[in-house]
């Protein structure tokens, strides 16, 4: 009784085995996707938050970054106080505001990030030259904004900070020179964003935005000190909110807990389906071969060998089906990711499904254990088949 013989037994019923393998592959793919979904979203979010190396966010009290339109007054003083705190390596304010690109009678709404170019964690320059505090009329365009405005590096665009809501007349208009293109890290797909200096954004937003900021990004020199610096900032500047990456991930996790629940339920369903498929196929095989099994026991084949023979078939089904399922899972994860990341309001660079070796390994181990569990009842039945009674009934 060896592996080759067990595999041949499966190959004898090609259609039945192929259908079972397909079922196991689909269940395995679902399980892998759910495992990637349950932890991947968080890890992807954490990676995104840390992508520019800023571990802390300072926001108006009681808010989270990008959560509201609330802003903080006295931004320059706040930044100076934060920079003076021990452990803080860098801090930069950002004001997010709506602006409008004017092209003749046309008005195109854009999202403007007003940043301190020396301390910003919102975009990555792709082409051209970065912003410079000495050039307040410079602007960087994201690709969707560049497409809407129809401008290239070196072009001049007319930007209005405000539009009269009744008649649509622009005010606070400035002519700005496109210095480069940038990829905005927290943008939703196709969001038309631009970056200008903080002072320019405040000027465009009008008097009410003077020296105000939506968020201040803080880089801590030593990663391990981020939590203690956050605590220190909370004590020293109690009028603002301070969030570490870990706290934001916890908030994110709480808000998206339904994703975890969904992935847990669907993952469990996938496991149950796998157990049922493997168990059913093996139970049918054992039933069909109960006479042969009794004969094998009669001629001296040990219970252990019979157990292993059936178990090997279950494991072979699980391993082959799972291997196909893991490949299928990675493919479907990409497809599902493309659908989910196109949801409005979500950063396009976030991934719901993160294929990591750990997820693959966990899924493979869980599936293997599932295969063993599924194979146990039929293997147990085969090894404990009453030999004489089975042979007697078989002879009738």
């Amino acid at each position: 009784m060896n592996w080759r013989w067990a595999l041949r037994d499966l190959a004898r019923h090609r259609l039945r085995t192929a259908l079972s393998l397909a079922g196991i592959a689909v269940a395995a793919a679902l399980l892998l996707d759910m495992m990637m979904l349950s932890g991947g979203l968080e890890r992807s979010f954490e990676k995104l938050l840390l992508s520019r190396g800023y571990q802390l966010r300072v926001t108006p009290k009681g808010t989270l970054p990008f959560d509201t339109e609330a802003t903080m007054g006295g931004a320059s003083d706040l930044v100076a106080r934060i920079r003076a705190e021990p452990g803080v390596a860098e801090a930069g304010a950002m004001l997010a505001t709506s602006v409008h690109a004017l092209a003749g009678a046309a008005r195109r709404s854009l999202v403007a990030y007003g940043v301190d170019p020396t301390a910003q964690g919102f975009y990555v320059l792709e082409t051209g030259t970065d912003l410079d505090p000495s050039h307040p009329d410079a602007i960087l365009l994201g690709l969707p904004a560049a497409a809407i405005v129809g401008a290239r590096i070196g072009d001049t665009v007319e930007i209005a900070g405000r539009l009269d809501p009744q008649v649509g007349v622009a005010s606070g208009t400035r002519r700005m020179v496109v210095r480069g293109t940038a990829r905005f890290l927290y943008d939703a797909r196709d969001q038309p964003s631009v970056a200008v200096t903080l002072g320019t954004a405040q000027a465009l937003a009008g008097r009410s935005a003077r020296d105000r900021a939506s968020v201040i990004m803080v880089r801590v020199g030593d990663d391990s000190a981020a939590a203690s610096v956050a605590g220190h900032l909370r004590e020293r500047i109690p009028e603002v909110g301070v969030s570490s990456i870990g706290e934001m991930v916890v908030q994110f996790r709480t808000r998206l807990s339904y994703f975890r629940q969904l992935s847990l339920i669907l993952g469990l369903i996938a496991l149950v389906v796998t157990v049922l498929l493997v168990g059913t196929l093996l139970a049918i095989t054992v039933n069909e071969q109960i006479g042969v099994i009794a004969t094998l026991r009669a001629i001296g084949v040990a219970r252990r060998s019979v157990f292993l023979y059936v178990m090997q078939q279950g494991l072979a089904l699980t391993v082959v089906g799972s291997a196909a399922g893991l490949v299928l899972g990675i493919i479907t994860a990409r497809w599902l990711d493309a659908i989910l990341t196109s949801f409005p309001g979500l950063p396009a660079s976030i991934s719901f499904f993160v294929a990591e070796p750990g997820s693959l390994l966990r899924a493979a181990v869980v599936l293997l254990i599932t295969g063993v569990i599924a194979g146990l009842p039929p293997s147990w039945r085969a090894m404990h088949a009453p030999v004489a009674a089975t042979l007697r009934s078989d002879a009738l």
């Binding site: 009784m1 060896n2 013989w5 041949r8 037994d9 190959a11 004898r12 006479g291 042969v292 009794a294 004969t295 094998l296 026991r297 009669a298 001629i299 001296g300 084949v301 040990a302 219970r303 060998s305 009453p386 030999v387 004489a388 009674a389 042979l391 007697r392 078989d394 002879a395």
Partner: protein, 223 residues
Amino acid sequence: MTPIIEARDVARVHALRGHSVEALRGVSLKVRAGEHLAITGPSGSGKSTLLTLLGGLERPTSGDVLVQGRSLATLDDRLLTRLRLEQVGFVFQRFHLLPVLTARENVELPMAEMRVSSRERKERAEELLAYVGLSGRSGHRPTELSGGEMQRVAIARALANRPAILLADEPTGELDMATGQAILDLFDRLNRDGMTMVVVTHDDRLAERAQRVVRMLDGQITN
């Protein structure tokens, strides 16, 4: 001389759908080494049950069975299985060959269980298939063999580990007259070569060839 198999006042009660059926009632029997014994009797007389007890496939409700002087009551399931593997060959009415294995691989199976090397298994299986007249059919699967050929493979499988005793339950029951005759000739040859044989049969031709015939009725030996 110590009998190779001995049944001492064995009884066996089967539980069938809540009822107790006395399959054997105080049967005693001795089989000498090298003897060819036939057990005959009508259906339900207990002859197959007696064979399963002699081969250690199940345990008597009372009484004892000794094989080569060793009481089977003292053996646990693992040792009984080992005894069947090494000392007792079984042939059944239904051949029950593994359909995915070739004739040779089916014969190799008990040897594989004994951890005989692959080369030795192959050689011995080929020898046995030649002995039962199937030297050209070793690579065929059971579905490619006739009923008689399948029964010969089953006999070769029973002989794989050179058992001292061959127990056969209606070995010609599923075969036509001519094929059955060939199996009887094979059994004769086996017995001439020294094999102790106990054959349960309805077939008078098979019983006629035995050195001794035991007749059973209602769970008892009548002669």
